[in-house]
Symmetry: C2
Subunit: 421 residues, 2 copies
């Protein structure tokens, strides 16, 4: 009954060319260029529009310093009880953060312009931005970009690819994922799009993601589903541990998968929906880690044996944020000591003598003692595999998690040290 | 009444040559080479010996995974109530961490060998190690090194310089600081030595520091004095945020500054002693940040206006550990957004509109809005000054702190990615 759609598409031409992509019903997409980014002609304004009112939920940055669009969208979802949304507008190149009262007015106007362009009621849009912080939005460009995007809207994979491109900042690839649930009342589709946590120059490390679905899900169903999916996906990715001012994840459900009289999601279907949402978010999260700025390796951390999932994630988070671990991976160095000791200061209790560590099934550390492995061949394995999975066991508990990060390279330093001055 | 001695000495020949260095009375030092480190002839075994029984206190790594010498020394201080210590033995090149039961036996034997070499009772020494983890101590070399060091002991600045050199791993300079308090009953001197938090190859980021004094301080006086001094010095330094398996700070006081019948430290003198201990620790902590591996800039973070010191330190810690902030400094990029947003996820409440940021007195961000500064000239200032002070104000509270870190460079990545395989 549960049929997986295609996973993450790395290449926009592949997305555009693939006729088999099942996208969520009743959604149209556009991505146009309005000159917000320095490089002329790059798409930087995205519109996502539903043919019918959609329910919505959002997860936002926990940073105290958060951007105007975050404030505007959070308030809108709260005030409307998660109902009556018709779409999302996103610009890249300018984060509209640290911009004071003017920034708030600009974010609200951007929302209204998007609703006008889509021919939907004012107040029916959500808004997000990513890019340079501390600069006012160029509203003339925003206006012309939204106008152009409104005319370019369409339901095909090619339209989605344009929108996915328009939210990119330093991403090198678009990030899209879709999942389908077969159902007698009608197949339910979830289509997600994201931009990465990489950053360059004065840009912030903003992560944005939206999942558009035709599921007949209520706001009350969407909220816990999104919170749980984000916990198990975007909260399990660390590129450099900097929580941005603009991080935002939306889910919007327009209910068009089923006839209007078919009712809401029943419990088993809701379970499948939650699982599919989690998978879409995980696809996108993994794609973000893989496309991290200057990264040479995708690092998958599997932590097992803790009391609960929360504890496993705390350990994985510490390991993933260790510059020592990340540089060791870059150097193809099977340096178990850095990983084990990073786990040791995660604030989670375990016994040293229970700790085991493997990389892609090769034991490095077992029951608290180093394994006498062949360092040269393990290093060669690490050098030759772009994706490396470290499995860290710290006890016998049922808690576990999978976490994604990347290595830290000279290229990362160069990209992030380089300013426009 | 309070006379500062010389600050941190960067150069061992300068320390050895300077006749004016007042070192703590009744202490002898030695640093010899026993071949523990790959590079032949480098000093790697240090002895610090008191002519009389000393009281002691220690602060140790909070990492759950901690080395055998940490366990041995912590137990010794507890069991002896902080009394009857005659010295400290430290080796570099091997951390004796993750070495199981054999490691515990080796650490205990190393202590005993040191006591034998100094002609003091067994159990009268504290022990620390730094270097590669997961390898057994080469006890034949430890034995010969301790023997040689026992014969080389002496009270001069040159002897101290040798000992300071012997605890170095990738440090490029020895780190020594001394302070003197004039007093009618006799001048009190505190002499500190440290090694840095930098690391290379498979070595851990261990920070070690010892302060030797002739003050007649009790264990009950030393414990809170050391905890407070460490909080305001070593806990205010971050090179890469990795808490090592071996971090250790000792203070030992032999009481020889005053005649035996002069009694203990009175309250005003204790206040001066605490202040001097804090200053010695701050000198050493700053020297560690300055000598961090691959660092191009020392970054001083002053955080002000929080409710208390703890909150100020939490913000400084977050900013200091942000790879984005550290790479921006390396690139001479006055990127206030990275600093302000790192402060925003420190878990400390403040209002965005109260935030101000300056670098060396140049305003970058004021009352929650960007200042229109000349980015080119500020960048030139940052490029041309090895030491940069950022002052971040987040409100009107009395809480403040000074925190030290360094920039993150391509050199850092190269050094840490490079393994011996």
């Amino acid at each position: 009954m549960f049929v997986q759609g295609l996973g993450t598409m790395a290449d926009k031409s592949a997305v555009a060319a693939d006729e088999n992509w099942h996208l969520a019903k009743g959604w149209r997409f556009a991505g146009e260029a309005c000159g917000m980014r320095g490089d002329q002609g790059r798409r930087d304004m995205a519109l996502f529009v539903s043919d019918a009112p959609a329910n919505a939920a959002g997860v936002f940055t926990t940073n105290l310093v958060h951007a105007a669009p975050v404030k505007v969208s959070r308030t809108a979802i709260t005030e409307q009880g998660g109902k009556n949304f018709r779409g999302v507008v996103i610009c890249s190149g300018n984060a509209n953060a640290c911009t004071g009262a003017q920034g708030m007015a600009d974010a609200a106007l951007m929302r209204d312009l998007a609703a006008d362009a889509a021919g939907t009621p004012r107040g029916s849009f959500l808004v997000a931005s990513t890019g340079v912080i501390g600069r006012k939005l160029p509203m003339d460009r925003v206006r012309s970009g939204i106008g152009a995007a409104g005319k370019a809207l369409g339901p095909a994979a090619g339209h989605l690819a344009h929108a996915a491109e328009a939210i990119m900042t330093t991403d090198t690839r678009i990030k899209v994922s879709t999942r389908r649930i077969e159902h007698p009342r009608g197949a339910i589709t979830l289509t997600g799009v994201a931009k990465g946590a990489a950053m360059i120059g004065p840009n912030m490390a903003t992560m944005l993601a939206c999942v558009f679905t035709d599921a007949p899900a209520t706001p009350e169903q969407l909220r816990p589903a999104l919170t749980s999916a984000v916990d198990r996906s975007f909260h399990c990715v660390s590129v450099e541990g900097h929580t941005s001012t603009n991080d935002t994840v939306f889910v919007l459900a327009n209910g068009l998968a089923w006839p209007a009289d078919a009712g809401q999601l029943d419990a088993p279907t809701l379970g499948q929906f939650n699982h599919a949402l989690e998978e879409v978010c995980q696809d996108l999260a993994r794609a973000i880690a893989e496309d991290a700025e200057g990264a040479g390796h995708l690092v998958v951390l599997r932590v097992k044996g803790t009391a609960d999932e929360h504890a496993a994630r705390a350990i994985a988070h510490r390991v993933a944020e260790s510059a020592l671990v990340k540089t060791a991976v870059h150097g193809a160095d099977p340096n178990w000591g850095r990983i084990v000791s990073a786990a040791g200061y995660a604030g989670v209790k375990f016994r040293e003598e229970d700790v085991c560590l493997e990389v892609d099934g090769i034991p490095l550390f077992r029951q608290g003692e180093p394994v006498d492995f062949d360092a040269k061949s393990v290093s060669a394995h690490m050098r030759n595999n772009r994706r490396l999975t470290f499995t860290l066991t710290v006890g016998e508990g049922p808690g576990h998690c999978t976490f994604y990060t990347c290595d830290m390279t000279e290229e990362y330093i160069r990209l992030n040290a380089d300013y426009t001055t």
